[in-house]
Amino acid sequence: MFFLVVRPDAPYGLARVTDGNDYLPTANLEVLRLRAELLRRTRGFFDGRGFLEVETPLLSADTVVDRHLDPFGVEVGGCMSSAPRRYWLQTSPEFAMKRLLAAGAEAIYQITRAFRRDEQGPLHNPEFTIVEWYRVGDGLEEGMTLLGDLAETLFARGPAERLSYREAFRRHVGLDPHTAAAEQLTATAKGQGIDPPASLSPTDRDGWLDLLLVELVQPHLGRDRPTILHDYPASQAALAQLRDDGDTKVAERFELFVDSIELANGYHELTDAEELARRNRENNRLRELDGKEPLPVESRLLAAMRAGLPEATGAALGFDRVAMLAAGAKRLDQVIPFPFDRA
C-alpha cells in the first residue's frame, strides 16, 4: 500500500516531520475517491443549472486588495522585450470571472486553485481548491438560495438556516454588532474570558468583531444543519454592495458554515468602480498600518467595471474543507494528498 493514513488524533504538524517518508501522500486512496465524487457532484450541480465552466489565469497582473489577504508575488517578464514586473498568484479567481460577466457571460463557475500566503494550519493550506460562481441578475436572496442548494447537494444535511450577523451576535454575544461601541466589544470579550492578542488595538472594531465571531458565535453555527450568515457590517463588505437596514448600513455579503467551519463567502456584487477604488485605497491604508505592502489599486477589473458590470451575485467555496467534512476528517492534510509541507 502506498498511502499513508494519518490518524485523526495525530497532532497537526505531522507533515512537517521529514523522516524520509515525506514523499508519501497524507490522504489515503479512499479519500481521493471521495474528492473525485464531490467534484463530479459540484460540476453536475452547476452544469444542470446552465452554468458555463470557465478557466481564468492563476497568475495575473491584478490581485484582490484586502487588508487580511496576502498574495504570493511572482516576478515575471524581463525577456522578449518586456520589462520585469510583478504578477500575483490569485487569492481567488474573482477579478477575471467578473471581467467575463462584464463581457456578457451570464452564469459561470470555475473549479481551480487559489493561493494565500501565510495561511497554514489544520484548516488552511496556502494552496487550496476553490469553487467560485457568478450569476447575472441574482440578488442576495437568489445567491443564498443557490448556496443553500449546493450545500444540500454536497452534504444532504437539510435546508440551510439563515441567520443575520446582527441576530447571531444578539443571540450568542448579547450585543448589536452594528451599533456597539468599540469599548463594549473589548469589555464583552474580556468579560467572556477571551484572551485577546495584546497588539489588538482597542479601536479596531472589526478586529474585535472577528475575535468575538470566532470565539463566541462560530461554535454555534452549522451544528444541526448548514447556517448561512448574512448582512455583514458595512466595514466588512469587501466586494459586496451595501444596503440600508433601518438605522445602519449592512453589506450584502453571506457565508456558509457547516459544523462551525466556514466554507463559503458570497457577495451581491459591488458594481460601482469608484467605490471599489475607494475601498482598495482604504484597504491599502490599513495594510500599511499593519506593516504590510500595499497592493495595486488599479486593475483590469476596475476598467471592466467602468465599462459596465451587470448586477450579479457570486460566491466561493473552499473545496478541501468540503472534502474534509464529508470524509469526517479533522484537518485538511487528511484530504489533500500533498499539503504545503510535502508539496
Binding site: P11, R16, H68, D118, D195, P197, A198, G207, D290
Partner: protein, 189 residues
C-alpha cells in the same frame, strides 16, 4: 536578539517572554476568510513548568530564547551543589539540588547527562534513560521467593531508595529507568 514573527510560529519553537524561556507546545492558526489571522498558542515555561495561553495576531513577534542542549559530565557532589562539566568546552557548572531535582538519585561520578542551557546558564538536566546502580543496603529477601510482584525498598550507591523485587540482594547491580524511577532488571557485574 533574534525573533520569530507569526508566520514562523509552530510547535516546538523556543521563545522568551518576560525574561523566561518558553516552549511552544501548541499553535493553532485561526482565520475567518476575510478577517484577521489569529494564532492561539500554548506555551510551557521551561523553568517553572507552568502553561501559558496566549493569542497573537499576524504581524506580532516573539523573541527567540537562547536555548542549547549540551552533553555534560557529572563530576562530583559537594553538599547541595552538583558540579558538571560541558563535554565540549570543559566549562564547569554548579547546579543546586532544586535544579537537579529527582535526577540526583541516578547521578554517578563520570556519568554523561543531557543539559539544557538558557542564556548559557543551566536550565535543566536529564540523566541517561537507563542507569546501573549498586545496591548498598537492603533487608534480606525471603528465601526462594522469586516472584517479582513482592517489592522492597533498597538503598543504592547514590543514597536513593529504589523499589525492587524481594530477591534483590546487597552488593548486586540493578538497572533503573530514570524516567519512571522503576527497577528494570539485575545486571551481572
Amino acid at each position: 536578539m533574534a525573533s520569530y514573527n507569526t508566520s514562523d510560529f509552530r510547535k516546538g519553537l523556543k521563545v522568551q517572554i518576560d525574561g523566561d524561556p518558553y516552549l511552544m507546545i501548541e499553535c493553532n492558526f485561526v482565520k475567518p476568510g476575510k478577517g484577521q489571522a489569529l494564532y492561539k498558542c500554548k506555551l510551557r515555561n521551561l523553568i517553572r513548568g507552568t502553561v501559558l495561553d496566549r493569542t497573537y495576531k499576524s504581524g506580532d513577534s516573539l523573541d527567540a530564547a537562547d536555548i542549547e542542549e549540551i552533553a555534560a559530565q557529572f563530576l562530583y557532589r559537594q553538599g547541595d551543589q552538583f558540579v558538571f562539566m560541558n563535554n565540549e568546552s570543559y566549562e564547569q557548572y554548579e547546579l543546586t539540588a532544586a535544579q537537579v531535582d529527582d535526577a540526583w538519585k541516578y547521578l554517578k561520578e563520570g556519568m554523561d547527562c543531557s543539559m539544557i542551557l538558557f542564556n548559557e546558564n543551566p536550565l535543566s538536566l536529564t540523566p541517561p534513560n537507563h542507569v546501573v546502580l549498586k545496591v548498598e543496603y537492603c533487608e534480606p529477601g525471603a528465601k526462594g521467593n522469586t516472584a517479582s510482584n513482592v517489592t522492597k525498598p533498597v538503598k543504592v550507591e547514590t543514597g536513593a531508595e529504589i523499589l525492587c523485587p524481594s530477591f534483590v540482594e546487597m552488593g548486586e547491580l540493578i538497572k533503573v529507568d530514570t524516567r519512571t524511577g522503576e527497577y528494570i532488571e539485575r545486571v551481572k557485574a
